[in-house]
Amino acid sequence: MAVSELAQILNDDRSASAIKLVLCVIAAVSASAFPIVAHAMDASYYVVFVTRILIYALAAVSLNLVLGFGGLASFGHAMFLSLGAYCAAVPTVYGVNGAWLHVLLALTLGCSLALLTGLVVLRTRETAFIMTTLAFAQMLYFLLVSLKQFGGDEGLNMQSGSEIAGVQLSDNNVLYFVSLAVLAAVVLFQRRLLHSPFGTIFRGVAANEQRMKALGYPTLLYRLTAYVISGGLCTVCGVLLANLTLFASPSYGSWKASGELMLMVVLGGAGTIGGPIVGAAAFLMIEEVTKGVSPHWPAYLGILIIAISVFSRNGIWTFVRRNRS
């Protein structure tokens, strides 16, 4: 009885918006209160863990822009993460710790990398696209490994996190709130972007490129723009990641990391705004649990990934949304 009444309420537009607003407020409040509660319960580790989820959710959201909404299966997206991490780590070696500088560097280098690789990669067919994005990610990986003066394949430890207004971004609580804020901002931005003229055209290009060309749109330019935005966002995410671990490593951009990012998007539901967030949370939690259960956890994770790929069509979030009405 209660379920059908709830369903009826959700179907009514105005009630639905009101409920959504209430849910958002509840989410915002609990998200803000979470660290305080965690510290009080002496479970500070979870603040770090949830921050990790927030950061990877952000990376997944950025990937979703081109993957879910653009239909471009980029299998090298984690390379932006590793690039971003080094954009924070390398300057600190020279004592340059300003957070805004790190972010600016990340945006500049990330967008440039996306532009250069996009120009090559976006001209290939879907299947070659997967392979070439993978190959370029490897290229960056080897480049980073060869930077012996910055740690090479052992990675680079950071003496200090990015500093903003005299505060260290690497402080657990600061990073938590900053990541939360950035995630919220990016999600809102993405919503606006997808409904904007650019976003609508981009979705059209993803749906039927031939049609859009025949209408007069230079489709490559649109895909490239989305790819650059996505890459830039993901690189900034890398700055946050470096602050989480105070460590930058080429392995942040390994193809396994890219595969995991893609999995988060698919698991949660590509092509939805909330999907990647749910997917990142689900994946990281499952990983955490399996790690605790068995030393052979990679195999169990692998089996899970296979199962998800074989049986899932649309991801958790889509399932939840569909079954609400």
Partner: protein, 304 residues
């Protein structure tokens, strides 16, 4: 730089390329026929190396090792295909990529459990050790054998694909699987066969490489990426592209690693060449890929 040194490295490159070509041919077949993105291909390479090396270390008979490696990978491949992969043929490539990525995790962990995380070794069979004089250049006999085996396989594969009924079905299926099915051919069996052959080729490459590389869990990943570069450069779905692309990439990678560092040292300061040399050497293959794709996005010998 002595010409014999250059010749030696070139031969090395060809040998590496020939080994890559076995992998690339299998992968491009699987991709061309079933439109299936198989990222786990490298795992079969690893399996072939481990199984073959184990058989050799236990029996001392190289031929048995080869047979063991190929059989093991074909059986595992056939089972995986039948139980899981078959369901993915109709999925989009993203799901295929993810599923086969999951397979890599499973296989790597399996290898780590059975053989341990430390590298496993197999020595070069005594009959094939030593070197052979090739126009004044002493070249390890074993590596020459790889080249010989690889080229023979290339020839066999060419004959099968272009002159046999099976090959005709394979080529037809890559263009139009529905017509082939309508002709009464059991496409499921054909697909299973192609996949199994592909895995066998990967396993063969694995056992051939076993004495000259370190066998360890995760060894498949590195070689897989290079294989992907090969088939993208050669043209996805093209066997000719797989072979020629592999030789090209093999030579560029090998010679690049050997020659770029010293060449840079000749023109730039020690500091720059010390840093840039290794970096350039490892990425030269990808730069070549980027250049080829910028010029011909469909690959050099594409069939589509």
């Amino acid at each position: 730089m002595a010409p014999s040194f250059i010749a030696f490295q070139l031969l090395n490159g060809i040998q590496y390329g020939v080994m890559l070509s076995l992998l690339a041919a299998g992968l491009t077949l699987i991709f061309g026929i079933m439109n299936f993105m198989n990222l786990s291909h490298g795992a079969y390479y690893m399996l072939g190396a481990f199984v073959g090396a184990t058989v050799y270390n236990k029996t001392g008979v190289f031929l048995l090792a080869i047979v063991g490696a190929v059989l093991a990978t074909m059986i595992v491949g056939a089972v995986a295909e039948r139980l899981v992969l078959r369901r993915l043929y109709r999925s989009d490539h993203l799901h295929q990529v993810l599923a086969t990525f999951g397979f890599i995790l499973v296989f790597d962990e399996l290898a780590k459990t059975v053989w341990g995380p430390a590298p496993y070794y197999m020595s070069v069979p005594p009959m094939l050790s030593g070197s052979f004089d090739l126009a004044g250049v002493p070249f390890p006999t074993y590596r020459l054998m790889i080249v010989a085996v690889g080229i023979s396989f290339a020839a066999c594969l060419y004959v099968v694909i272009h002159r046999s009924r099976l090959g005709m079905l394979i080529r037809a299926s890559s263009h139009d699987p529905e017509i082939v099915a309508a002709m009464g051919v059991n496409v499921k069996v054909l697909n299973a066969l192609v996949f199994t052959i592909g895995c066998g080729l990967a396993g063969l490459a694995g056992i051939l490489a076993a004495p000259i590389v370190s066998i360890e869990p995760g060894m498949g990943s590195g070689v897989l990426i290079l294989t992907l570069v090969v088939i993208v450069v050669g043209g996805v779905g093209s066997i000719k592209g797989a072979f020629l692309g592999a030789i090209l990439i093999g030579c560029i990678d090998t010679c690049g690693r050997v020659f770029i560092g010293p060449s840079l040292a000749n023109v730039a300061t020690k500091q720059i060449s010390g840093a840039a040399g290794p970096a350039l050497a490892s990425i030269i293959v990808y730069v070549v890929m980027a250049v080829v794709l910028a010029w011909r996005p469909q690959g050099l010998f594409s069939v589509r």
